[in-house]
């Protein structure tokens, strides 16, 4: 074997272990899941014993009102939380992007919720939402208001999981936005002050447009994440009351463990996977487009 050939192959040699792990941990389960989605499979059967039923799991899903409801809840949840989190996170970043004494402590505090394990977050909020001993209702009754059925009423329960998610994930957007803000060219912002921009005008015309690339990636990351959320809601409401907070991942979990329909659960997982793939692909396309633009600009610059 020639040296040149050996050199060409070296990178693949180093990549091989990672490739092997990916194949075992990712590729194999996905294939398994895709195959399972074509089966009428009960957990008591071995996979070889299950009947092959083609696309019937999928057609069943689309006519299943509960699944459609769950899909709707998931989409509603994602859109609501990500929208509010984006506004709050970016807003906070704009507010706290200054040098005030103690700001670094404050920033660290803001980041804490994100670091707590999701199960713990779920438990914590469940206790706080508790109808009688929870801090919210105790405070409300102390002040003379009626207690709120936080987790007992469908609409309130949805609002409750939204609040918990916002509490936990706004910091993520906050940190990324703050990093984006602090890497903006200071002189462009100073120039806008000289040009007569007020604080708001600086934000709208200079800061937000310049932050946009980071904001778009953040948005997509958060969307992907919010479609996959499970533990916090599982602990808080387990999808109830009724189907009001039954997001897709809970539905999948129940279909597999409670309804014992492994094939159907696999089909659902595949649909969720497709949604996530579309989002991931959107992010990939966006990144690629940015790269191409940067490349084109560099080319023009070198020409000039």
């Amino acid at each position: 074997m020639s040296i040149a050939r050996a050199n060409r192959l070296t990178p693949y040699l180093f990549l091989a272990p990672a490739g092997a792990v990916l194949a075992v941990a990712l590729f194999y389960p996905i294939c398994y899941m895709i195959y399972a989605s074509f089966l009428d499979w009960n957990p008591s059967q071995r996979i070889g014993e299950a009947d092959f039923i083609g696309l019937r799991n999928y057609t069943k899903l689309f006519s299943d009102a509960a699944f459609r409801e769950s899909m709707w809840v998931t989409i509603k949840f994602s859109i609501v939380v990500v929208t509010i989190e984006m506004f709050l996170g970016v807003g906070l970043a704009l507010l706290l992007d200054r040098n005030i004494r103690g700001m670094s402590v404050l920033r660290t505090l803001f980041i804490l919720p994100m670091m707590i394990a999701p199960i713990v977050v779920g438990l914590m909020w469940r206790y706080m939402y508790h109808p009688t001993v929870g801090i919210f209702n105790r405070t409300l009754t102390d002040w003379g208001f009626d207690p709120i059925p936080w987790l007992a009423d469908g609409d309130w329960a949805f609002a409750s999981i939204v609040i918990a998610d916002i509490w936990q994930w706004t910091p993520f957007i906050f940190i990324l936005s703050l990093a984006a803000l602090q890497s903006l060219p200071a002189s462009a912002i100073e120039a806008s002050r000289i040009d007569g921009a007020s604080g708001w005008q600086q934000i709208i015309y200079i800061k937000l447009p310049l932050m946009l690339p980071v904001l778009i990636v953040t948005l997509l990351l958060r969307l992907i994440d919010s479609f996959k959320v499970l533990e916090v809601i599982l602990v808080m409401t387990n999808g109830g009351p009724g189907l009001s907070t039954e997001i897709l991942s809970i539905r999948i979990n129940r279909t597999a463990s409670e309804f014992r329909e492994l094939g159907e659960a696999a089909a659902m997982s595949n649909l969720l996977l497709i949604v996530l793939l579309i989002l991931t692909f959107a992010m990939f396309i966006y990144n690629k487009a940015q790269e191409l633009r940067a490349q084109r600009m560099r080319a023009v610059e070198e020409e000039a």
Binding site: S187, E190, D195, G196
Partner: protein, 357 residues
Amino acid sequence: MPEIRLQHLRKDYGALTVIEDLNLEMADGEFTVLVGPSGCGKSTTLRMIAGLEGVTGGEIVIGDRDVSQMEPKERDLAMVFQDYALYPHMNVAKNMSFALRLARMNKADIDKRVGEVAETLDLTAYLNRKPAELSGGQRQRVAMGRALVRDAGTFLFDEPLSNLDAKLRGQMRAELALMSQRIKKNMIYVTHDQVEAMTLGDKIVVMKFGEIMQAGTPEELYRSPANKFVAGFIGSPTMNFLNAELVDEAGTLSAKGDGFSIPLPDARKGALQAHRDRNIHLGIRPSSFAEGPGGLKMPVILSEYIGAQSVLISELGGQRVSIEINTVAPIRAGEEREFTVQGDEVHLFDPKTEAAL
């Protein structure tokens, strides 16, 4: 066009005092250059005038308004930044018209103004380009254009040419000089380059450690520097400094050093009497040397032939000296030549205070 006055201006960063007590007046339509080595407070001063830095004490008066507590936009000024500070997401036309759009000027007027300025700066072809698609020189012109469309009372420049290569810098310097002649506004220009200062300024303010060392016309600063720092800072190649003693030789005061003695004109005798028989620093500009018989015999250690001129590195009394003379043919290193210096062209400084004598 208002005059600008800085009165007892002070700037602290925490416990660090950058500028202690700065006083400066700039007349109507004057081109003032703040020049000095880095860290001398020139940029801080400019940024305080712009309103980008708060003042710790003192006043900035433009016309008859004390603007020191006002927002930048209330001060009626335009600024060109060292890194151009263009808005990366806006094209050239949008960059230039940003201030006008914020001021809600109507679109036809904006287009007209931007069009005119773009024309004078040769930018018409690039109006739809983003800053990233422009060369350094073009970006620099856009930054200039953005300031010009504003029609502000005062223009501030923060080292606007230092990011350009030498050739482009020369061109832009000439364009700037032309522009300042044409529009005759208050201009305050910060640079660390004394050539820029000399060629552009009506008035030059030399700063060091947050203090003004001397303010005056380029000629004043070159001909009669107030101290050794200004003498060494202004002029290129740099002034030579030699240790010498002021001695009375048969009724004529001379600056006498190791291997040389330069008689001083009688006109300076009165002022210098007090320093007789004391050590002084002697400053001689490289261009004050002239080649001629009967002068000091000096070796040519290094010869830099530039064409019409040569800069020679030589030695006088064990001290390095540079000499600038007109040349026809290159002078070779290793030769020994004779140079004369006129007594009325030398500068004398007090070795302790460094003030000119």
